[in-house]
């Protein structure tokens, strides 16, 4: 059984007088330990799919099972509990809490789990170590560079040992050099820690770190075989 099982997922919304269907009867299986990238032109539903898998947006129809739990049937409160225990989310714009230090930002998801103080500390320290930011633990987001902020965001996403981590344009707001560092980090997390990672990106180079690559077009998922050409644009794929 796949870790993530999506069947007949449909999502539509009205914009002006027009009905847009970003997800049209989508089926998708993601196996445990996979690193999957999703590309596609803007507005094709990549983020909508990611949000549905995260349980922060509800589809019109269809089902999503994650590790056997049908999250599409959970209430808002239950979904929050499920996310706390099972999901890590990496945002494009980091979205760290500005009044908390890097350590406290990473600690936030662990406050929602039944962990002892020492276990919590251990997990936060390990997560910060995994992203190479142990020496920046006491820094506030304003004292960190964009790349460091995103690494804190990655540490926050993995600290609760989630079953699946989703990343929405994780390098979208970073320069080329920093983007490369994040790519290496994500790949390492997948390969060394076995984290299942679903990633939405516009960048073919970032998508290239995934062994399995998907393209969303007109509400449908298409598997893309082979390596992406380096530097190619989304529309060229």
């Amino acid at each position: 059984m796949a870790l993530v099982e999506i069947r007949g997922l449909t999502k539509s919304f009205k914009k002006g007088g027009e009905t847009i269907v970003p997800l049209d009867d989508v089926d998708l299986d993601v196996e445990r330990g996979e690193l999957v990238s999703m590309m596609g032109p803007s507005g094709t539903g990549k983020s909508t799919l990611l949000n549905a898998i995260s349980g922060i947006d509800r589809p019109d129809s269809g089902t999503i099972f994650v590790d056997g739990v049908e999250i599409t049937r959970l209430s808002r409160g239950k979904l929050a509990d499920w996310r706390a225990a099972n999901l890590g989310y990496i945002f494009q714009t980091h979205n760290l809490v500005p009044v908390l230090t890097a350590y406290e930002n990473v600690e936030l998801p662990t406050l929602l789990l039944p962990l002892s103080g020492s276990e919590r500390r251990k997990r936060v320290e390990l997560a910060l170590e995994a992203v190479g930011l142990t020496d920046r633990a006491d820094h506030y987001p304003r004292q960190l560079s964009g790349g460091q902020e995103q690494r804190v965001g990655v540490a926050r996403a993995i600290v609760a040992h989630p079953k699946v981590v989703v990343a929405d344009e994780p390098t979208g707001s970073l320069d080329t050099e920093t983007s490369k560092q994040i790519q290496v980090l994500l790949r390492r997390l997948n390969e060394e820690l076995g984290i299942t990672l679903l990633m939405v990106t516009h960048d073919t180079e970032v998508a290239g770190i995934a062994r399995r690559r998907l393209r969303l077009d007109q509400g449908k998922i298409v598997e893309v075989a082979g390596e992406f050409p380096r530097g190619a644009t989304v529309s060229a794929i």
Binding site: I56, R76, A80, D81, A85, F91, N95, E104, L111, R156
Partner: protein, 380 residues
Amino acid sequence: MFQFAPYVAKTLWGHRARSLLTISGAGVAIFVFCFVGSVQEGLDRLTSDESAQRTLVVFQENRFCPTSSRLPQDYAGRIAEVPGVRDVMPVQVWTNNCRASLDIVVFNGAPVEQLRKMRDLTLVAGDWSAFAGKRDAAVVGRSVAQRRGISVGDQFTIGDLSVQVAGIFSSSVPAEENLIYTSLEFLQYSRGLDRVGLVTQLEVSLAEEADPDAVAREIDEKLKAGPVATTTRTRGAFQASTLADLVDLIGFAHWLGFACVGLVFALVAATTVMSVQDRVKEHAVLQTLGVRPSRVFRLIVAESLVLCLAGGIVGTAAATLLLAWGGFAIGAEGATIAFRPSVSLAALGVGVSLLVGLVAGFLPALNAARTPIVQALRQA
């Protein structure tokens, strides 16, 4: 349960200018609320406490200011004959101002032994023998002494009156602490008063079983044929009537207290709304991480509560200290209302701020908890 307390604290500290301004505003409003409340409490104490209901005041009919009431002192003997009367104390009153004033000085002259028997006075400085042994000696209420900086041994002069301070007293009746007591003869014989054989009022202590209204009627009936007609009421009714103009004003000030509560509500609600609007995305991020909407609700209410409660505690503490140290009173026609701090008033100040904090945070918190996460995450 309190795992997110540091988050709430850091959020408030992170916007400290806004937080401190809100706390100061709430503090000032609760300070005024407590002050108004103390005036209200002072009036209630004056008119409704048990001793005010069990003591009668005999005053000249149709007279209000103490300077205009002149009763023959020998009325005391006739009143003492009325069934239900335990004791009668002749009192000569002198005040520096018959109108409403915040710094009224009221002298009551009464026989020293009777005074000690009928009033619950405790000397906090000086001694009774010095008071009894000297004609121009006076014992001064703690509040007047505080307000005017009077100590034992001082010579205190106001108008034509000059007294030697023999003691400072406290009383279980706060209004008493705004009076200065002398011997009856001193006030009657003082230059300019010329009240020999006359008193301003007679205070009647009742026997336990006596009906105050019936005794009052009987006293007035008995003295109707005398040279001066009288009006007899319970001390509570007498003081309420004497302070009638102030009672209206205090009733109006009561609304000022409510306005202060409204002000705290508006201030804290505005701050909370601003804070929520600034952090729509942050709350969505928290929910994405797994924070339940109900916890987001509680976090925002907690912020509002902390701001309001901090303001409430500061305001209540400031008002309590000032009321305790200031010895403030307002008076008219010889009667005074003491502004005193009280445990019930402090509890009310803190309780009101707690309640307002909860209510002020409710709608912004509900709004934040119910905003769809994806929509909130898209906000810049």
